[in-house]
């Protein structure tokens, strides 16, 4: 598939366009200077991404060896070939995409340690073990999806009818997100309004602001005219009804009963309300229709011919003239070397830190400075979509303080009969380590046992599952690079800087760790600087 016309670069304009000017600034000074220039031109953006990059000038057949066929490697391969470079990509996995990966029914996966799982999901059902959502401000990812024809659909982050659950709150009975949010906002507003009316805040709030504050609390908290939050039509309009309004005879609603401020605060359930306040999780988010691997497949249609799969890099050596990667093919036992003028290495630092590479100490120290975080996801197939049919939950996420941490419902194929797959666990930190150390079947058994505390239907409806612990993924050895502030201060620039003929890219070379956008932006920045170096030797 060819890229759509709007992505083609414009080179025949008589006057330099604003974009030309920006791309020149970018080529000479790097993307941060370009961002500053954009800001001064009134284009202050939500993203470093400023549209398709232009790598002007003839690289005269210069060759680039790209290591790794994840988002960073594939974006770089696509753009460098378009700019006239000779490109070769080596990748460890049998499939392109790296952590941009989807497991479908019929797939077989063997983790480190040798346990093999056969995915038996029904046709069309899948699990994205890695990235699964794309926020609206990840403009690079969205633009490549658009240019490559990847269909997107909404990813539901907040579902007001999903559950919030804590073992020790409300006798372990899951609460609807809607009622927790209404009661929390109501309780906090009620308390603050009482403080204002008791003149407690007179030193902090001016007389002029006082009325506005009260009005805003009434609006924010769903308070009554007397600034109280209590059972009644106003609260029910937020938290829902015991008997919702209907039509015809006996259709009048019955109010639901609000939870006391003390119970709401003690429950701790308000913690989960903050998640969707974060910039990364604000509406709108997207997901590729059919699985995140649709992005990998779309890139592979463009540059799949450049990728050598099943290729394990064991050494990377540079001279004044070129860079050579030594590799083996674990599937055939074949050994070989590949040489190019330049090397863009996108191999995760969890692996690169073990590879013999002759870079100077600053880059080597940076490569060694980043621990890799755990991460674990479990996909569970059930005989029917009971969360829709019984609980009226269509997409979105339930949160719990059980080790599974969250249950995410499929954001597509609503109201379908037949089986469905949900994300039955997605913990971080200690729980992710502990899940990963278990055999896959035991991870799944525990996820079903814990999930049944929120959805009792689990026990009758569960069919089978698949469990991916990222520290056991052979091509990744971890979920993402977990930079500390201190390590970033000391090493980040050295990680990103060109060392002789070697440049690094990937989510680890970004300030958006674990997100595809970080990998994409780091790759675009790296090849922009590489191209500037090639054009002005």
């Amino acid at each position: 598939m060819q890229l759509q016309p709007e992505s083609r670069r414009v080179t025949d304009q008589p006057q330099p366009s604003r974009r030309d000017l920006l791309s020149r600034i970018g080529a000479v000074a790097g993307s941060s200077a370009m961002y500053l220039a954009m800001t001064s031109l009134g284009l202050a953006a939500e993203s470093q991404y400023s549209g398709p990059i232009t790598l002007d000038g003839d690289p005269k057949g210069a060759s680039v060896l790209i290591l790794g066929a994840g988002i960073a490697g594939m974006v770089a391969a696509l753009e460098l070939r378009k700019a006239g470079y000779t490109v070769t990509v080596l990748d460890y996995n049998a499939r392109p995409g790296g952590r941009t990966w989807t497991i479908h029914g019929g797939d077989t996966y063997t983790e480190l340690g040798g346990e093999t799982q056969d995915c038996r999901f029904a046709e069309g059902l899948y699990l994205n073990p890695g990235p699964w959502r794309i926020p609206y401000h990840h403009r690079g990812m969205l633009d490549y999806c658009k240019r490559l024809g990847v269909a997107l659909e909404p990813f539901i982050q907040v579902n007001h009818n999903a559950y919030l659950h804590a073992k020790n709150a409300f006798d372990g009975k899951p609460q609807r997100y809607r009622t927790v949010q209404a009661d929390f906002h109501g309780a906090v507003s009620d308390l603050l309004a009482k403080a204002v009316n008791a003149d407690t805040l007179d030193h902090t709030v001016s007389k002029d602001d006082r009325e506005s504050l009260l009005a805003s609390l009434r609006s924010f908290g769903g308070l009554n005219a007397d600034y109280t939050y209590k059972t009644g039509p106003t609260a029910s309009a937020r938290r829902g009804y015991d008997k919702p309004p209907g039509g015809g005879m006996g259709a009048e609603p019955t109010d639901s009963v609000v939870t006391s401020a003390s119970d709401v605060l003690k429950s701790g359930l308000w913690r989960a309300l903050a998640i969707a306040q974060d910039y990364d999780y604000q509406t709108t988010l997207f997901q590729p229709t059919g699985g995140m691997d649709m992005i990998a497949r779309a890139f592979a249609r463009e540059i799949g011919d450049l990728i050598r799969p099943n290729t394990k890099v064991t050494a990377i050596r540079q001279t004044n003239q070129n860079v050579t990667a030594t590799w083996t093919d674990p599937t055939t036992g074949e050994h070989g070397t590949t040489t190019a003028d330049w090397c863009l290495c996108t191999i995760p630092l969890s692996i690169l830190s073990q590879i013999d590479i002759n870079v100077a100490a600053p880059m080597q120290d940076a490569i060694n400075a980043v621990p890799y975080a755990p991460g674990m996801k479990i996909g569970l197939q059930f005989k029917r979509r009971f969360w829709e049919q019984d609980d009226a939950i269509y997409g979105g996420i339930s949160y719990t303080d059980l080790p599974i941490t969250q249950i995410a419902y499929p954001n597509s194929d609503y109201l379908h009969d037949g089986p469905g797959v949900l994300l039955g666990a997605y913990p971080f930190g200690p729980y992710a380590y502990e899940f990963t150390a278990l055999p896959p079947a035991e991870r799944i058994r525990k996820a079903v046992e814990w999930g049944a505390q929120i959805h009792p239907q689990y026990k009758a409806e569960f069919e089978h599952g698949i469990a991916i612990g990222w520290h056991r993924v052979p091509g990744a050895l971890g979920c993402y690079g977990q930079w500390s502030t201190e390590a970033r201060d000391k090493h980040y620039k050295n990680l990103c800087a060109l060392d002789g003929r070697i440049l690094l890219a990937g989510e680890h070379a970004s300030y958006i760790p674990a997100w595809q956008e970080g990998a994409l932006l780091s790759a675009l920045d790296a090849i922009t600087r590489l191209h500037a170096r090639v054009m002005s030797p």
Binding site: Y92, L112, G113, K167, N168, L191, L192, K194, A195, A198, T200, A261, S262, L265, K266, G268, K312, V313, I347, L349, S350, I351, S353, Q354, I355, N368, V370, P371, Y372, A373, P374, D401, P403, T405, P427, F428, G429, P430, Y431, Y433, E434, T436, A437, K446, G469, H471, R472, V473, P474, G475, A476, L477, G478, Q482
Partner: protein, 124 residues
């Protein structure tokens, strides 16, 4: 009681409420999202370290490798593994925030006793 005093009281009550539930598993696993609750070196190793170094300590190899801990001469120096578990080493995360010093000492002891002696089944 004024509203502000009530709010303060609630806040204090929340701070004092133990947020970490008691371990629900007999081996102390899955007891907290912030700290590991495993009480013994063996439980710590099998529930955390084994995720990468494998239950029998033999490590694993993919695009990169997790080193085997079996008869690993570097582990003969007891301070070596304690330092790594505490501070991190290359891609291996540090555990100073999630394990107590006692837990780290216990798991280092378990590793050296279990893996750094000749394998019972190995011909000597």
């Amino acid at each position: 009681m004024s509203a502000v005093k009530l709010a303060l009281k609630l806040a204090i009550a929340l701070l004092l409420t133990p947020t970490l539930a008691l371990a629900q598993q007999p081996d102390g696993s899955f007891s907290s999202p912030f700290r590991f609750g495993e009480p013994t070196g063996e439980a710590i190793y099998q529930n955390i370290c084994a995720g990468c170094h494998m239950p029998d300590g033999r490590g694993a190899t993919g695009a990169g490798a997790y080193p085997s801990l079996r008869q690993n001469p570097r582990l003969a120096a007891t301070d070596y593994d304690i330092a790594i578990i505490t501070r991190s080493q290359k891609a291996m995360p540090g555990f100073s925030r999630t394990l107590t010093e006692r837990q780290i000492a216990d798991v280092a002891d378990y590793i050296s006793k279990t893996f750094n002696t000749p394998l019972p089944e190995s011909p000597k």
